[in-house]
């Protein structure tokens, strides 16, 4: 059985560099000295810690609970002691984020796994288990899986897609995972399919992943179709893969469920299996560590491991090369190498040679960016508007539908950092909207303030929330203030005698 293929426009073939890291089986690195768990991930609200400094924690023990519907639970990946909860740099951009830091004791003692769910468990039970186990989308966006399941419980899911289309160059963590844990992925897919009562289920891999395809096909399952899609970047993008496999389009600014689709990454499907059947929370993942190093490959890394630990295990001796978290097309260059691996970290790429970044030339309007855009955006016009600061025009041309896949900048003969311009424009629009909201709130408070003062002057004491200003005798108040001012002046004179500038009030 093969997967359906519908027309899909755009995309570009990029050199793959996959066999640098996908030929060897995955390895487990030695335990790192400490693990770092940022409470906030980039989607949803921060988790609420349930442990404190000094607490002993065991492998699998819950460290933080979801604080809202769109939030995730965190679990210790090995045993140790909570050293502190403090601000720690987290990728991308080394943003200081409140994080739980655990000192690893090296004993790796764990708690008992939860009992597996009965085979006839309903969607609600599966959803609760996924919430409890902290399963989130491991493909990159990190959307909590239980939220997707909830969407599927309340709306009709025609197609469930398990995404093994690892279209970014260099990254092979899903490839290796599929080769080594195909049975669990297929089983996880069946649990997800049952949870949301999906009409059909596709597991898609790329054409040039024959080993992964064979491994998956060795575990045929009722109602699950396993097949390939063309190896064109970015065929693994959510909206692109949905269009490719179902012919349906996710509405602009909409969610896949609006096209009757739920999509999960293959690693997420395996995490679902682990949570539901093995009763284990999500505490580790496959991470590709590749590029300029002696032992590139895939690691079964504990969530929270500092990036530097994996790079050292990979045989990177340091230097002035750039380390990129994620793939070369969409990843972010790291500033600090102490940032932790999170549930969405799929790859650490050391760029083999410092890329010769040519100065950008003027746009020659060749239109290649338009041709490769997987959303059919007019990237050239968007660039012109973004650069000129005409943000309204950029929004009219659907700036916010840009998925920042980088295909346009990849083919640009003028070497213009198009994605950078689009990100800057999006950030500027978001900032303008924040300012606009703040102005509206200021105005509301200002108007209430004015009304209150008017009421005070009219002598209506009941309208004032400030009895001090209206209720009490103003003369008495003034005298009291004068006395207080004297006290402050005396105190100030005693504590800072030479301070002449900031004496008393005029």
């Amino acid at each position: 059985m093969t997967l359906p293929r519908h027309a899909w426009r755009g995309g570009v073939r990029v050199p793959r560099h996959k066999n640098l890291s996908n030929t060897e089986p995955s390895r487990a690195p030695p335990l790192p000295a400490r693990l770092i768990y940022p409470l906030r991930s980039h989607i949803g609200t921060a988790a609420r810690p349930v442990v404190g400094p000094g607490d002993r924690v065991l492998k699998g023990q819950c460290l933080a609970e979801p604080d809202s519907y769109v939030s995730q639970a965190l679990h210790a990946a090995t045993s140790g002691t909570v050293r502190d909860i403090l601000d720690y740099p987290v990728a991308p951009g080394d943003v200081m984020t409140a994080s739980i830091v655990i000192e690893v004791d090296g004993e790796d003692r764990g708690i008992d796994p939860w009992p597996s769910l009965p085979a006839d468990a309903d969607g609600d039970a599966i959803q609760r288990r996924l919430t409890e186990a902290g399963v989130i989308g491991m493909g990159g966006a990190g959307f909590p899986s239980h939220v997707k399941v909830r969407e599927g419980l309340t709306r009709t899911v025609r197609t469930l897609i398990i995404n093994g289309v690892e279209c970014e160059p260099y990254i092979t963590c899903d490839d290796r995972l599929m080769r080594e844990h195909a049975a669990e992925i297929v089983a996880g897919a069946r649990w997800l399919k049952r949870a949301v009562n999906a009409g059909e289920c596709f597991i898609a891999v790329e054409e040039d992943m024959p080993e992964a395809l064979a491994a998956l096909q060795a575990h045929p399952a009722e109602g699950v179709t396993i097949g390939t899609v063309p190896a064109i970047y970015p065929a693994g993008g959510e909206k692109q893969l949905i269009k490719l496999l179902t012919g349906r389009e996710v509405p602009s600014k909409g969610l896949p469920i609006q096209a009757g689709v739920l999509m999960h990454n293959v690693a997420t499907a395996r995490a679902v299996y682990a949570a539901v059947v093995e009763g284990r929370p999500l505490t580790s993942r496959y991470v590709t560590v590749t590029g300029g190093m002696t032992r590139p490959g895939n690691w079964r890394a504990l969530i929270g491991t500092p990036v530097s630990h994996l790079l050292q295990e990979g045989g990177w001796r340091g230097g002035d090369q750039r380390v990129i978290m994620g793939g070369p097309m969409m990843g972010m260059a790291l500033c600090s190498l102490e940032v932790p691996v999170t549930k969405v970290t799929n790859c650490l790429l050391v760029q083999e040679a410092a890329p010769a970044f040519l100065a950008a030339m003027p746009c020659i309007r060749c239109g290649e960016c338009l041709r490769v855009c997987p959303v059919q955006l007019n990237a050239r016009a968007l660039y012109e508007y973004s650069k000129a600061g005409d943000l309204d025009a950029a929004q009219d041309l659907n700036l916010f539908d840009c998925i920042e896949c980088g295909a346009c900048a990849y083919v640009c003969p003028s070497h213009i950092p198009l994605v950078g311009y689009f990100r800057a424009a999006k950030a500027a629009i978001a900032a303008a909207e924040r300012r606009q909201r703040a102005a509206a709130e200021n105005r509301g408070r200002y108007e209430r303030h004015q009304r209150r003062q008017a009421a005070d002057q009219a002598g209506s004491a009941t309208a004032s929330p400030l009895p001090a200003a209206a209720g009490e005798d103003r003369e008495a108040l003034r005298a009291e203030i004068a006395a207080a001012v004297e006290r402050v002046r005396a105190r100030r004179a005693a504590s800072e005698p030479p301070d002449g500038e900031r004496g008393g009030p005029a």
Partner: protein
């Protein structure tokens, strides 16, 4: 104005391509056309080209200095060489040196740099310069091949003398006409097409000389398509529109309207369709926009050739549509993925 520096943002990979590479490929694709020019019109064509290259780079360097831009990488991006080559192909091979200088100064200083330089010009510089000369020096610009086959093309020495301005280009047999102009004047003299085409100025496909130039340009253009430097929409639409219009008129009255084959392989049809109309800077970038643009260029070429006052319409057709390109692009935005149906 926002500025984002290269390398600050993903992607961290880049295709092995550059503006200079694109321009170099265009130049390589023009080599067969240059050889055909040499074959048909003798050394004058080559000298004209070399002179144009020299002048264009001098003008470009001066303009860059004046605008305060570094010569590197702007002078070596190849854009001036492409403009010079297209301009030289359009020039009569025996035009005096100052004509080329005037045309290229107009093309580069006014049409290109006055609008903001590479990437910002509204009109194709080579065609702008050519049309400027055509309007100001109409007689000198007609110094094409001798009409009767008895004359041999001038040799090296004579071509050099003519380029140096030593002989008046319009005084003798070299002030010939191209087949398009000849056909039109003869038709206006109420001759039948069948009589006219018996003249030796006609070749198998079109103009006895220009047909080879057109075949060479077609080959170069196909190579550009294959390498992906240009896309199919503009040349296909332009040639199809020209062919279909010419065919319709020819079928209606075969004695008054020349055959579509003549139109395809005479004048500057092929260089126009593959090298001039496809100039990305002055054409729409959207796929549908390129179809509209190309079709309009093809139609205009036919209308100007047949009903206009100039022998060839390629330059005018392209310039007119250059002006309309932003408008066309605006109204042919592609439907984005997920847009409401």
């Amino acid at each position: 104005m926002t500025t984002v520096s290269s390398g600050a943002s993903s992607p961290h990979l880049h295709q092995a391509t550059s503006v200079a590479l694109v321009m170099r490929r265009v130049l390589v694709a023009l080599v067969p056309t240059l050889i055909a020019m040499f074959y048909c019109y003798g050394p004058g064509a080559l000298m004209q080209w070399l002179w144009a290259i020299l002048v264009a780079h001098a003008v470009e360097a001066l303009m860059l200095r004046w605008r305060g831009l570094p010569l590197q990488p702007h002078l070596s991006d190849g854009s001036a060489a492409v403009t010079a080559t297209l301009f030289a192909l359009a020039m009569p091979p025996w035009a005096p040196w100052w004509l080329t200088v005037l045309g290229l100064v107009f093309a580069l200083a006014l049409v290109k740099h006055a609008y903001g330089g590479l990437g910002h010009n509204l009109f194709n510089p080579a065609m702008g310069g050519y049309v400027f000369l055509l309007l100001c020096f109409p007689v000198a610009m007609k110094a094409w091949a001798p009409i009767d086959a008895g004359h041999a093309a001038p040799g090296w020495i004579e071509s050099l003398v003519r380029l140096a301005g030593g002989a008046s280009s319009m005084a003798d047999g070299y002030s010939g006409a191209t087949v398009l102009e000849y056909t039109r004047t003869q038709l206006r003299a109420m001759k039948m097409l069948s009589e006219i085409t018996a003249q030796p100025v006609y070749g198998m496909l079109g103009d006895r000389n220009a047909q080879w130039v057109n075949v060479a340009a077609l080959l170069g253009g196909l190579w550009l398509l294959w390498t992906g430097v240009i896309r199919w929409q503009i040349p296909v639409a332009a040639l199809a529109a020209l062919f279909l219009t010419a065919a319709a008129f020819h079928l209606a009255d075969g004695d008054r309207y020349a055959s579509p084959l003549l139109h395809l392989f005479s004048g500057a049809t092929m260089p126009g369709a593959f090298f001039i109309a496809t100039d990305p800077i002055t054409a729409p970038g959207t796929p549908r926009g390129r179809l509209v643009f190309g079709a309009a260029v093809g139609l205009l070429i036919y209308l100007i050739r047949t009903f206009g006052n100039y022998p060839d319409g390629v330059a005018f057709a392209v310039l007119i549509m250059n002006g309309a390109a932003p408008l066309i692009e605006r109204h042919t935005q592609p439907r984005i993925l997920g847009a409401p149906a």
